[in-house]
Amino acid sequence: MTETTTGATRATTPTAIQMSGVTVEFADPLGGTKQVLKGIDLTVPAGQFIALVGKSGCGKTTLLNMVAALVRPTTGTVTVGGETPKAARRNLGFMLARDALLPWRTAQGNVEYGLELRGVPKQERRETARRWLEAVHLGGSERLWPWQLSQGMRQRVALARTWALDPDVLLMDEPFAALDVTTRVAVQEEFLRLWQSEQHKTVIFVTHDLGEAIALADRVVLLGEGRVLYDVEVGLERPRDLQTVAGEPRYQEIYNQLRSSI
């Protein structure tokens, strides 16, 4: 049932993420172990935008956390850009459902946070942060505190914070799930625009929203019970118009194919 079209389209590009035979077990409260991921083999070429979808508890966030070196595989190997996930952290960007802005930092300060942790000098930090706030249409809001920003603005500050680090790989854990519908589309468009505006970064995008996955990603991987159930190349043309993409036949084809399993 699995469509394996991976690699064929970008035969020449290097591999960003490689997982082979990965299982992850957690100790459950009753003393046994619970297998969250069962023998995952996944290759993500550099520059690909891959969406992981599935019911809650299917292991998609665990998979993401593993790439972020927050969870270690019980068996199998994971490499990110040829290195261990921990060593590759300096090339990672990370975005969460809740924006995780630090309330005691202004918008500008929040964008600078990651740069500060990495020891970027002050002047450079300032300029980079200002540039990225500008890029997400928040120029002029640099000095506002998080509570003064709307939900959408906050998530766009989080976008700027992620982009300011210029990561090779973007890990996104339901980044737009907490937004209302209108704001969500606006932020999604913002995100796609940033992603398309330069050399493509590799994106691993976790979501429970199948429609969002198809609309945004190059490839949709459906997880269930800790296994890969479907692996589909989306093949919709870019740039995409998020307002109308749901009307495309290819969108509906994938949607109908995967819907029953989600």
Partner: protein
Amino acid sequence: MTRELEEMTITAPDNATPVREPRRDPAETARRKLARRQTTKVRALQALLLVAWIGLWQVTADQEWLDPVLGKSPGQSWDYFVGAIESGELWTNTKATMAAVVVSWVLASLVGAVCGIALGLLPTVERVISPFLDAANAMPRIALAPMFIVAFGIGMTAKVALACTLVFFIVLSGARAGVRSTDSEWLRLSAVLGATKLQLFWKIMLPVATPAIFAGLRLGLIYALLGVVGSELISAKDGLGQLIASYSSLFQMEAVYAILILLAIVAVLLNQLMVTAERWLLRWQAPADV
């Protein structure tokens, strides 16, 4: 971009801090105006209450409702106050008390905040020693004053020691509670961004704990005053507490009243100072009414 997005990106003025909802500006202005009018009303009522209280005091003295030893008029207290200012008695003793307050407050707050954050980060240690901390904190501290006076004499050290035992625990428990309010998402994000332990302490734990620490600092400042004056009452070579003790033994109650009022004013001023500092340091917090 969509209209929604444009709406959301209304730029803020350059000195952007007080802007809450850029979109609802006229309503905001009206709300502020109302708030200001209410503040004026509150201040007027407070002044009225103060005048009424002094009036009542005067009446109790005129009507001789109290024992003549206790029943002194505001005028008599005022006379003492003016005389004591001229003689320099009030100034030197206030200085002695305040020096002890500041020293004990700064010292105990620093140690208390560091210990509190450390305990928040080391849950096992916290579990082991928390019954001891609770026991120590439950002890009536004024009972320690004679011991400190025997140990350190009637100078500044004894006062400072007693006040420290009060302030330390207050700031400690504030910092402990503060660290616990850390959001796990901040830690997850920081871990992925490669934060070191030291960076976590300075950039996450300390700011997280600041509001709770500040609540402790504010309370601690008043308790420092309490501890110092308490110690002086028992025995000291100078200070406002010592003045109260000696005037009480001479039955000069008008002087005692004047000093008590002075202490109350000092406490209010200290509190106000802390509120101002707090407002600036915690300016990133949303106002309570949002």
